[in-house]
Symmetry: C2
DNA sequence: TTGTACGCGTTATCAG
DNA sequence: CTGATAACGCGTACAA
């Protein structure tokens, strides 16, 4: 059995509670006994038992992570690694640990969260996604359990602390950029329409069209359930089978964009001379693609970092106000967009 | 305060210990009281407290993950996401949770591990790397704490359960493949020489040369500390400044290979006609690179999955024997290797 | 400033 | 088959 607080107490000739107070650096303990106790701890190689501490103090110093339902695909997207990077830095600074649960089905996932929460495994939770009508979100809210989310809540925006980009603006700017290049037939290829990111970007796209008096074509909008390359491929075949094909595309994820590029290349449609593409996330892929993709850097690492920090603030301050943190984005111009060749003739 | 076992006991008119036994599905409890207790649990919405359970049973059902020291870079490499994918599936099947610690310095990392171990936070640990003279490894061994590692231990191979590829063979095959194409001036660009993966692959490379009576050129061997693109770029400038430049390269990581490709392209050295490249890991990059890289698929997801499973076996079976699990690899041929043009003339 | 005693929510041992 | 009771290791009123 490991060294406990009692062993230390015995060696230092004090009561266990005194040792406990020394650990907590309680100011009401004399420096002399503190030193004495610390020496005893050193000598025995004492390390506090986190589990016992958690039970007594009702706090674990662990933060739970909830990955989106389609966990398998999520791991493949560079978003995962980057957000983990930021999260890990954020929690590490404050001496918290990260815990993950995953599940293959929606139900398993939900149960995993319940176990984390009601099982007392974690002090708070970070949702790595935001979607419409999320049971997990509702559950956390109904139990009043501390959590923050990455992405904009679909409902109750003002009541949920979250870290997000201004996806509306980002998509609007992206679209305006294409319009500025003379494009008017602009397609939108997004991820699942249940995700708020997708919706926000779609709205930004629509707003830009409207402000520039370009009529919206519903069949220029495609949603691909998977945030993967396959999604992009399917989207292209739908988009380019119509009568008038778009001359430019907004794609909400680099990975999907990759599929799009693949398909277009196979169809011998040149990028950017025939179709311009602008995508989101600025993953390494974006740079590697042929042609290199113009993409919007949403600073995913920072997204994770801020999420971690703001959750910890919620946990450590009695009534921390609800916050909304917006991480800036940047358009990274590469070679996937060109001036529209035909806008003059077509209308 | 949450519902406890006592509340359930009261409602079901039994002792708390009985409730505990029902949870554990103890066979010595009558079906009748089981049903009664379960109804009470249902009615109250009871969920067992994991922390209390952990304290009493001295087991947390949590597995700790140790990332390599250069954590920042590690997150950027697709290896991270893939291995996490496998790990998460492996632990999820057996109802364990994953916990991560990270640290910016070696010392922080070490302390993180000590906290996990001595703090009783985790039942076992998975090391996501293997290197020479690892303090953490020595610590775990000295405390006799259950752990498995991904990669081959540098020492005590027969005493440490680990999951690995046959990196020696993989590199040997890769080299032989190049030799088969007529190459004799084959360079080796590896990651840190402190990692056993690097060493194993280097040995495989050397063995292949030797068996084919090709003399080893020490200045054809470059180590890049970072598993990143920058590493590849530096390596190239060293390699191609000598008198006789290699006509083929073994690169131990796709990300490094990417840097190599970049640099060679900038130097207007054509791949594969002037230099052939074969790399490891078969990340998405490999396929996307221009030209697409011939790479060795080491099945990273499986590496993680098996690591999780074997650790859990160690945890759940009294004296599970030490195991060594080898995950198969496959050469994925793309377009980065060609028949050597000059081997006939040069010797 | 320090010690005593109890509670945190379970599991496990030992009776009955 | 079930019920007391004692751990598990620590935090914390309360008392001294």
């Amino acid at each position: 059995m490991a060294i406990t607080i009692k062993d230390v107490a015995k060696l230092a000739n004090v009561a266990p509670s005194t040792v406990s107070r020394v650990i907590a650096n309680n100011p009401r303990i004399s420096e002399k006994t503190k030193k004495c106790v610390r020496e005893a701890m050193e000598q025995l190689g004492y390390h506090p038992n986190f589990i016992a501490r958690s039970l007594a103090s009702q706090s674990t110093k662990v933060i739970g992570l909830v990955l989106p339902p389609s966990t398998g695909a999520f791991f493949q997207n560079p978003f995962f690694a980057e957000v983990m990077h930021g999260l890990s830095e954020g929690v590490h600074e404050k001496h918290y640990a990260l815990q993950m649960t995953t599940g293959t089905t929606e139900e398993e996932l939900f149960n995993g969260v319940v176990q984390m929460v009601q099982g007392g495994r974690v002090d708070g939770i970070i949702l790595l996604y935001s979607r419409i009508n999320d049971d997990i979100l509702n559950y956390l809210r109904s139990r009043n359990f501390p959590f923050v989310m990455i992405g904009k809540p679909y409902e109750h925006v003002a009541k949920i602390t979250h870290v997000d980009n201004d996806n509306f603006l980002a998509a609007k700017e992206a679209t305006e950029y294409l319009i500025g290049l003379g494009h008017e037939n602009i397609g939108f290829i997004g991820g699942s329409p249940n995700l708020t990111v997708t919706l926000d970007r779609l709205h930004g796209y629509k707003a830009a069209l409207q402000e520039n008096d370009i009529s919206l074509q519903e069949d220029y909008i495609i949603h691909s359930e998977q945030f993967l390359r396959e999604g992009g491929q399917k989207a292209v075949s739908k988009l380019f089978s119509g009568t008038i094909s778009p001359t430019a595309l907004i794609v909400t994820d680099d990975l999907i964009a990759l599929g799009v590029v693949n398909s277009l290349t196979e169809m011998a449609i040149d990028i950017p001379s025939q179709v311009s593409i602008i995508s989101f996330n600025n993953a390494l892929f974006a740079e590697m693609s042929r042609p290199p993709l113009t993409s919007i850097n949403i600073n995913i690492v920072e997204l994770g970092y801020q999420a971690a920090r703001s959750l910890i603030q919620v946990l450590e301050n009695e009534n921390e106000p609800v916050k909304r943190i917006i991480i800036p984005h940047q358009l990274v111009v590469r070679n996937s967009c060109a001036v529209s060749q035909k806008n003059v003739f077509e209308r």
